[in-house]
């Protein structure tokens, strides 16, 4: 092998190595930062790691939205009409949050039926339903096309 070819071969091998390591690091990083979404029913059926942030979505149950003046904690219940999850949250509730409307919360699960929310996500549009919520309701046979 001539010197030039050797040099090239080394460069190619080195860059391949760098590429593989970079891809591995990126994909591992991706795996660590995935946030899973659960409907209340799915949450019942899964073993939750309490250290991982998850999302739970469904409808806000009627008459479940409360505020505690002393602890400053908001609480409400997310339902998919088969199972329910209790949510507690400290912060500012979004304007579009309302009972009987779709909601997605992000936070840490306490157990299979309750979660401490870090974020409450309600979206722009008054008719908008987060797609995950529609899916969750469809799975439980509770979705009605308007």
């Amino acid at each position: 092998m001539s010197n030039k070819v050797k040099k090239r071969l080394i460069i190619i091998l080195l860059s391949a190595l760098v590429l593989i390591i970079a891809t591995l690091l990126i994909t591992m990083n991706l795996r660590d930062n995935i946030i899973y979404f659960y409907s209340p029913t799915e949450l019942q059926l899964t073993n939750i790691d309490k250290k991982n942030i998850i999302r739970v979505g469904g409808l806000v149950k009627e008459d479940s939205y409360k505020y505690d003046d002393k602890t400053k904690i908001y609480s409400f219940i997310i339902t998919d009409r088969s199972n329910e999850v209790d949510v507690s949250f400290v912060g500012i509730m979004p304007n579009l949050f309302a009972e009987n409307k779709g909601v997605v919360v992000e936070g840490l699960a306490i157990d299979k039926a309750s979660i401490t929310a870090i974020k409450v996500l309600a979206k722009h549009d008054e008719n908008y339903m987060p797609p995950e919520v529609i899916e969750a309701l469809k799975k439980e046979g509770q979705w009605q096309e308007e």
């Binding site: 990083n29 930062n33 995935i34 946030i35 500012i92």
Partner: protein, 627 residues
């Protein structure tokens, strides 16, 4: 004749003219007068677009699109903007921009006629595809099914001036890359991919880049003041969809520069051209198909997504087949030295593409799991931040070294020597800051020092001091854009490091304290707006007894349709924004207030303006030099 039929005829003429023009691409080269057939679609899509605006302004509820997206009480400006604020109208706008590019290009003074006709014809083929899509799946001129007297669309969140001008600007960016793809296809067909080709392409690549940069910036600015979360970039799929073609396009125009100067990297440039427009199409597909869960909502329909996917597949098959045959023949045999301007631009290419890979994976991985595993997931922002951190450090490093290297060959020691003073100065400034004000971590010191060095080095490169006169170099554009990028990283890091946020539950006369700022909750005002009721909370930023600033965060309650929106109140200062949002929980006697201190926010917007100006001055200087 009714207006809808008239509109349909306009579209059909546009459709058939562009089809006829694209016949030139066939092996037989059916040659007709390109001047006529490349310009007809422009005039007819322009008429169709004006017609659409007219029926919106006229609140003509015979048309389904107007019923769904307009309302007779809307202010005039939003009636006009409503014409492209929906899927059908925005697609017509997309077509109009496609034809504008073809129209202007048809006047270019390129002597190689076969090449010029190939470019025009492929662009016409793209126009044909999109007009077909518009006509059959998203026709804006469909009559309403029943007699309607009033429209539905009065969504107040979408009545925003910035939101009205944002899509056209973003579209000029996206669509600009269609002409770049046509250049690639035309170049391969006419065996004309060389220095001269790169010279012709250069202003078009830059034009698309300028508009895309500006469009992304405006979108981010809108999200900042309208969404009320205090953030300006959420790594949201819709945002990523516009960032991906930007990254590929940035890599592309750096390659075009090398090609024009050194006549190398032909096939790589072609590949990047294909990639960039494909990403623009994927971006459109992601946004319009509705398979994404985004903070930005859009009208969506799966068949539309499918059409864009099929069209993307056709374009990819055509370009890659051509590339498979022609690609290997394009390249000039040449060696690139490790230390040279070329190699640094190539390294920058790889870093930009790595960034693209990270963003692509993060955006599409959730789609994959959703489609194949029926599992909904989302990717947290930490993924992007951690993955992009090392890439950004390398990118900054190469941006400091690269522009100081000579073409072909240079000595690394000389380059390092030439920048060492500015590097040491930056390091000293950042260290001094860390010691006297707030202790910084290693990653923050690294990023801040490198971005400050980049700013200083780029300023130095843009100016030449000669006999006490400061002369602006023709490479001013490059310097401005690089200063902009350095400033962007600097202010983003500073913003993330020093931002403060606190939530208060406040009653009137309460004093709220955040950091060394003291806010007084003065009063609540209720007023009636044009079509909403407004509740404003008045806060004073106090300095002992004097009032420094007044904040009026607002809640608007619209009745038709019933919607509540929060309007943020932002005071922009040189070094930091103070950002106040509030809302009122049901049945409560207090308001919820969130106050953010956002350092260097104005610098983030300014850095984007600098990058855009850099692009503009690169084009202007080029035109001047040619004369």
């Amino acid at each position: 004749m009714n207006l809808g039929n008239f509109g349909n005829i306009l579209l059909l003429v546009c459709l058939s003219a562009s089809l006829i023009q694209s016949l030139y691409l066939l092996p037989k080269k059916i040659d007709i007068n390109y001047k006529i057939f490349s310009r007809i679609p422009f005039f007819f899509s322009l008429f169709a677009f004006i017609l659409l605006i007219y029926i919106f302004v006229d609140s003509n509820f015979n048309y389904q699109l107007v019923v769904n997206n307009s309302h007779s009480e809307k202010p005039l400006i939003y009636k006009i903007a409503g014409a492209w604020g929906n899927h059908e109208g925005s697609l017509l706008l997309w077509i109009l921009v496609l034809t504008i590019f073809n129209f202007i290009f048809s006047y270019s003074k390129i002597k190689n006629l076969d090449f010029k006709k190939n470019v025009i014809s492929f662009q016409s083929f793209i126009i044909f595809g999109f007009t077909l899509f518009l006509f059959f799946t998203s026709n804006p001129f469909i009559q309403s099914e029943s007699i309607v007297n009033e429209g539905l669309g009065l969504n107040p969140v979408l009545q925003d001036l910035l939101l009205a001008i944002h899509p056209p600007i973003l579209y000029i960016g996206y669509v600009g890359y269609s002409l770049v793809l046509s250049f690639a296809v035309g170049g391969m067909l006419s065996n004309k991919v060389d220095k001269e080709w790169a010279g012709w392409l250069h202003p078009w690549v830059l034009t698309a880049w300028i508009f895309l940069t500006l469009g992304i910036g405006l979108g981010s600015f809108w999200a900042y003041y309208e969404l009320g979360w205090g953030g300006y970039w959420f790594w949201d799929p819709v945002e990523n969809a516009s960032l991906m073609p930007w990254l590929a396009g940035t890599a592309l125009f750096h390659c075009v520069i090398i090609l024009e100067k050194k006549n190398i990297l032909q096939s790589w440039t072609i590949l990047l051209s294909i990639l960039t427009f494909s990403l623009s199409l994927i971006g459109t597909f992601l946004v319009r198909s509705g398979i994404l869960n985004s903070v930005h909502t859009f009208a969506s329909d799966p068949t539309r997504g499918l059409f864009i996917l099929i069209f993307l597949a056709i374009i990819l098959v055509i370009s890659f087949t051509l590339y498979a045959f022609k690609g290997p023949l394009l390249d000039n045999k040449s060696e690139i030295n490790l230390v040279s301007k070329e190699s640094s631009i190539l390294a920058n290419n790889w870093l930009l593409l790595s960034t693209l890979f990270v963003v692509f994976l993060g955006t599409l991985y959730p789609l994959g799991t959703d489609l194949f595993l029926q599992k909904s997931i989302s990717v947290g922002p930490n993924y992007y931040i951690l993955s992009l951190l090392p890439i950004t450090v390398l990118l900054l490093f190469i941006m400091i070294i690269g522009p100081n290297a000579k073409w072909q060959n240079d000595k690394i020691t000389e380059i390092i020597f030439s920048i060492s003073k500015l590097f040491i100065l930056s390091l000293a400034i950042i260290f001094g800051f860390s010691i006297y004000f707030i202790e910084l971590q290693l990653t923050q010191i690294t990023l801040l020092t490198l971005s400050l060095t980049l700013i200083l080095v780029s300023i130095k490169n843009g100016l030449r001091i000669k006999n006490n006169y400061t002369i602006i170099k023709p490479s001013l554009g490059k310097s401005l854009a690089h200063i902009g990028f350095g400033l962007l990283i600097l202010s983003v890091v500073a913003n993330a490091t020093f931002a403060q946020e606190k939530i208060f539950q406040a009653k009137v006369n309460d004093i709220l304290i955040l950091d060394n700022h003291k806010f007084k909750f003065k009063s609540v005002e209720q007023t009636k707006g044009k079509n909403y009721n407004s509740i404003k909370a008045i806060f004073y930023l106090m300095d002992n007894k004097t009032i420094l600033e007044t904040f009026k965060p607002e809640i608007r309650v619209y009745s038709n349709p019933p919607t509540v929106t929060s309007e943020t109140s932002i005071v922009r200062k040189f070094l930091a924004d103070i950002y106040v949002v509030m809302n009122i929980p049901e049945n409560s006697d207090f308001v919820n207030v969130r106050i953010h201190i956002k350092p260097l926010m104005s610098f983030i917007w300014f850095s984007i303006i600098l990058m855009t100006l850099g692009g503009v001055s690169a084009i202007v200087f080029r035109v001047r030099l040619k004369r």
